[in-house]
Symmetry: C2
DNA sequence: TTGCACGATGGCAGCGCTGTCAAATATGCC
DNA sequence: GGCATATTTGACAGCGCTGCCATCGTGCAA
């Protein structure tokens, strides 16, 4: 545990050239079993850790990738980080967690600066950075590998890990229809998120598949936040007759709906059913616990990291979503 | 925006030695204004970004510090990251966000490995990593600078950014006492967090200052989670007569209390007042919105990063807390 | 026996910067 | 004007590794 032993000390003690130590550290072949064991023993004993900076500088690869994010949800960011971090460290890569401002005009140049400074081997993009076409183009131009988590635009291009937002939203809506609801409000999220429109699409498809006319007045605009969900809910609940169910595009907005229901003494789920989307921490912290569509956020990030670092992986993976039926949905009244 | 111009190209084009370019990049003095301008112009034009790895290897400093965390709360982690990141990037440092397992027997050696590999200039510790004495000792031994955010143990030693947990808990309790509550339950958090005991201490002091006897039966053990808060609340509410207020050691547990109250048809705040601690995102997402003690998480992390990187800062700073009175507290019944 | 492929190792340049020292030039003061 | 001192610049080693090539030894077919 003493301070910074060098590779040369190791080689001296092990009685081999420092090049051989390097081979052992990098798991190269052409090292005899016995030599390898001896070197490893010395490395462990001295607690030797190779300098990342030196490897980066000398080698072709830095063993560093970055996860770029710009999402206001702590829950989402936290779990994306964990998933990506896990796969990276399993494969011996360092992951740089890099918040960015996807709306900044300097986005592309900031990311390029990071890539150059850190000699990145690749980047992982999470929504909404996934949609920044200018960035994708520049990454392509430079030939820098990247994966996207839940991309909306240019879905088929390159590597990506996704869920089927359309199908998931369809299932949510069908759950409500099966409970007898016919007048179902929908609160959509931020315009800039492609998933917003896909979820709306799924909602629409389910209605139509069950012979319920799509009514534009039942769609309210939200901004993914608690308050925007509440505001949208107030608008929807003004209608006569009022909808018996509301499907919110994410859990934060659903929590907003729930608060408005409490405020207005609307019983949930007796008079109003509510469904969210994400299954964030919030879903189990509100009362009653929220029925919501589980999105496997960690697993998406894990899969994305794997796509980028495991050479033989299929370039696109789609993960399963799952409806979590809890206590905010029930049979339609009357 | 093309790929990796080198410092030598820059120097050739600017017509100076590459050492001079290095001086400009590092903002050293002894460079004439005219030369500086010329070099900067070329740097900007070529979009040159110095290699971090090379600087680290050649220089004494890496301009890299790490933030170590091991906290189950996405909210907390998210905001700590933002605060620390902000100050680091303002000062030209890269911040490595590093989750660790503070319970692992390898904690110390894992952290030392990180320090060696990345040539860290320092580390920022957040709770509960702040309490790992073995780690602190080893950092001291190696002379590696570190700051702690909200440390419990060895408070006075070294650099730290904190709030006054005892005073904050006292204020929370006093708020309830002023509302007429005399039977106030307290749900404490994880035993391993020092703040748990400080908050209990503040609760106790306030009671005693107002001539209310401290009753051990009114203290329930929680584990900082939503469910543990609910369990503790059920126990407290069994008592006859039952407490008219509950002070939970954090917002997650307070949300659990709130859910139990809803479940048992106990009106909040009519029959039961509830206060949390943290002012996390949750506080405004539950219904009714939670009265809670605001902890300036971001600012703490910002201040911590500043302590470590700004050479002349006072080694200890204490930031202000603030009681956020929302809708879960009201006058005591009867 | 010779020849040759291949496994195991070592030697050395060089990645792109910073630190140190020395040299060249400018400035100040008696 | 002359010398001391400060400012500006350059030369060069070397940080700790990897990539490439050379070298040595061994087993095996001819």
């Amino acid at each position: 545990m003493s301070s910074r032993p060098t590779i040369k000390e190791v080689s001296k003690i092990a009685g081999v050239s420092f090049k051989t130590v390097s081979r052992v550290l990098n798991n190269e072949k052409h090292v005899s079993e016995e030599t390898r064991r001896r070197v490893e023993e010395v490395v462990a004993r001295l607690n030797f850790r190779p300098s990342h900076a030196a490897r980066t500088l000398a080698g072709r690869r830095s063993f560093q990738v970055a996860l770029l994010y710009d999402n206001p949800s702590p829950y989402y960011v936290y779990h994306i980080q964990i998933g990506a971090q896990k796969r990276c460290s399993e494969l011996g890569y360092r992951l740089l967690l890099q918040p960015v401002d996807s709306q900044s005009p300097d986005l592309v140049s900031n990311v390029m600066a990071l890539i150059d400074e850190a000699h990145l081997d690749g980047v992982i993009l999470s929504p909404p950075v996934t949609e920044m076409i200018g960035l994708l183009d520049e990454l392509d131009r430079r030939g820098l590998p990247y994966v996207r988590i839940a991309p909306g635009a240019r879905k088929e291009a390159g590597m990506a890990a996704t869920i089927d937002d359309v199908a998931a939203a369809r299932e949510v809506t069908e759950h409500l229809i099966e409970l007898g609801h016919r007048s179902i409000g929908f609160i959509r999220g931020l315009e800039s998120h492609v998933s917003t429109w896909e979820r709306l699409q799924g909602y629409r498809e389910a209605l139509e598949a069950h012979g319920i006319a799509f009514d534009e007045d039942l769609v309210a605009a939200g901004e993914n936040s608690f308050t925007s969900g509440g505001d949208a809910a107030r608008k929807l609940l003004e209608r006569q007759p009022r909808p018996t169910a509301i499907f919110a595009g994410n859990d934060d907005m659903a929590a907003g709906v729930l608060a408005v229901a409490h405020e207005s003494d609307v019983d949930v789920p007796g008079q109003l059913s509510i469904v969210g989307f994400d299954d964030s921490d919030l879903a189990k912290a509100v009362w009653p616990p929220l029925t919501t569509m589980r999105q496997p956020v960690r697993e998406l990030a894990y899969a994305a990291a794997n796509l980028m670092l495991a050479p033989d992986a299929e370039p696109q993976v789609m993960l399963e979503h799952k409806l979590m039926v809890r206590a905010t949905t029930g049979p339609a009244p009357r």
